[in-house]
């Protein structure tokens, strides 16, 4: 309205110029705005495509790591069965061959005793293989007992002090979640034993706001999130990729960092848990 009043007083000859430049200015503004939106959208699309490609690549690496890990696990079980159980059973068979009936009674008894001993060893071996696949403590008594059991074995060796403290584990997770969390802890501990030269490992558990937390501290040579991301892009770090693959199945977040005091390395596993997922 102010514009109208001004133009009422202004020279009519100038109106043509004002009209032309005003219209052109407004059109430039409108077209500029539309073009900005279009180019911005294109940039967003390009960025999202790149992000998708990166995610697919990451997914592929994790899948490959998972497959490789499965193959290695199968090979280990096959080797255990072939190299240990196979010869033991073959030896037991030798003791129990057809000629045994032709032997005197004391030799027969000795052979049967030896065969029994070998079969007992084989049973123990198969039990160990089975336990390595699914720890019975985990199945029967839960994650806390399984972790304590694992840490007792480590501490028992005398080379490292391993301890755990579960602050809020009145309710157990679902069996498949427990197994995955246990495998993650196992793999982390395994990495610490192999690479960190630590003198202690301490695991704590907490439950807060529908999230199940596992924190693992050690005083050895550790890795941070930046190292994890670097290793993710390389073919190295199969164990680490397995950890991430399991974390992804759990829909969990895993962080590798240095402690606030800059003395210890800390790994935090944050598993989202709904109330109904927990079994008493």
């Amino acid at each position: 309205m102010i514009l109208l009043q001004i133009t009422n007083q202004s020279n009519p000859l100038n109106i043509s110029g004002v009209l032309f430049f005003g219209t052109m200015g407004m059109l430039a503004l409108a077209i500029g705005l539309v073009l900005f939106i279009i180019f911005h959208q294109r940039r967003v699309i390009r960025y999202q495509l790149q992000l998708k490609e990166m995610e697919e690549e990451q997914q592929k690496i994790l899948l490959n790591a998972s497959i490789r890990w499965q193959e290695e696990e199968r090979q280990r079980i096959a080797a255990d069965l072939h190299d240990d159980a196979g010869p033991l059973l073959a030896t037991a068979r030798l003791y129990l061959n057809e000629n045994l009936v032709k032997q005197d009674i004391s030799t027969q008894l000795q052979s049967i005793y030896n065969a029994k001993q070998i079969i007992d060893d084989t049973i123990q071996l198969i039990r160990n293989i089975s336990h390595s696949l699914m720890p019975p403590t985990l199945k029967n008594f839960g994650l806390e007992s399984a972790v304590n059991d694992l840490f007792q074995k480590i501490s028992g060796s005398g080379s490292m002090n391993a301890s755990s403290r579960f602050h809020d584990y009145r309710q157990r997770l679902r069996p498949e979640q427990e197994l995955l969390v246990f495998r993650v802890i196992q793999e982390l501990v395994n990495n610490i034993l192999k690479h960190s030269n630590a003198s202690f490992i301490h695991v704590t558990q907490n439950y807060n706001a529908d999230k199940f937390f596992i924190r693992l501290h050690h005083d050895g040579r550790g890795i941070t999130q930046a190292d994890v991301e670097r290793l993710n892009k390389s073919a190295l770090g199969l164990g680490l990729k397995n950890i991430q693959s399991r974390a992804r199945v759990l829909q969990a977040k895993i962080d590798f960092e240095k402690d606030m005091s800059q003395t210890y390395y800390k790994v935090t596993l944050e598993v989202p848990v709904e109330e109904y997922e927990m079994i008493t």
């Binding site: 309205m1 009422n8 009519p12 043509s16 009209l19 005003g22 409108a30 705005l33 539309v34 939106i37």
Partner: protein, 188 residues
């Protein structure tokens, strides 16, 4: 809405051009066209804009504008162009368009924006509103001057054709692949 507006424009222009006696009522017809256009575009923006707060503002603006447009239609003389409602309408649409575009930029799910008919309708409205703003506000005083009238007709006609071309493009665009991305195309 755009389709109805196009039909309305065709009918009005056809009658004005075919009957010279109606030329004397061209300003009145123009003002009625402004009301129709404002109503249809407001409904369109109400459907495509997602922000509830902005929608509440739109309702308030629409009520005030409707009251003013009807008042100006009744009180203003028949033989002159009324710049105020046309200028305000153009500005209001310009703001609506900017808000719509701003909303779409902020929404990370609305990809391939230019494949949506709503986007091209908004482009048509923003270009037409921006381009006709100055001619509209000067028209009240200068429409009877031949130099201005020629310029006004040139600018308005060009933008009117462009607007209708963009509307046609919007109506022709097939939007099957991105139906879910836009509120206008969501099935209720």
């Amino acid at each position: 809405m755009v389709f109805f507006l196009a039909i309305y424009s065709i009918i009005v222009n056809f009658f004005i051009l075919s009957n010279r006696q109606l030329w004397q009522y061209s300003f009145l017809i123009g003002r009625i066209a402004t009301i129709v256009e404002f109503s249809l575009f407001s409904i369109f923006f109400f459907r495509v804009i997602e922000s509830r707060t902005f929608k509440k503002g739109m309702v308030a603006i629409s009520i005030l504008m409707a009251a003013y447009l009807i008042y100006s239609l009744i009180t203003f003389s028949n033989n002159s162009f009324d710049s105020v409602p046309s200028g305000i309408t153009a500005m209001v649409f310009f703001i609506y368009c900017i808000f719509y575009l701003f909303e779409r930029v902020r929404d990370p799910t609305s990809l391939f924006l230019y494949s949506s008919p709503a986007f091209w309708i908004v482009v048509a409205i923003i270009i037409y509103s921006a381009g006709t703003f100055f001619p509209f506000i000067y028209a009240q005083d200068y429409i009877n001057k031949s130099g201005f009238n020629q310029e006004y007709t040139l600018i308005h006609s060009t933008l009117y054709i462009l607007k209708n071309l963009l509307f046609s493009a919007a109506m022709l665009i097939s939007d099957k692949t991105i139906k879910s991305s836009y509120p206008m195309n969501k099935k209720k």
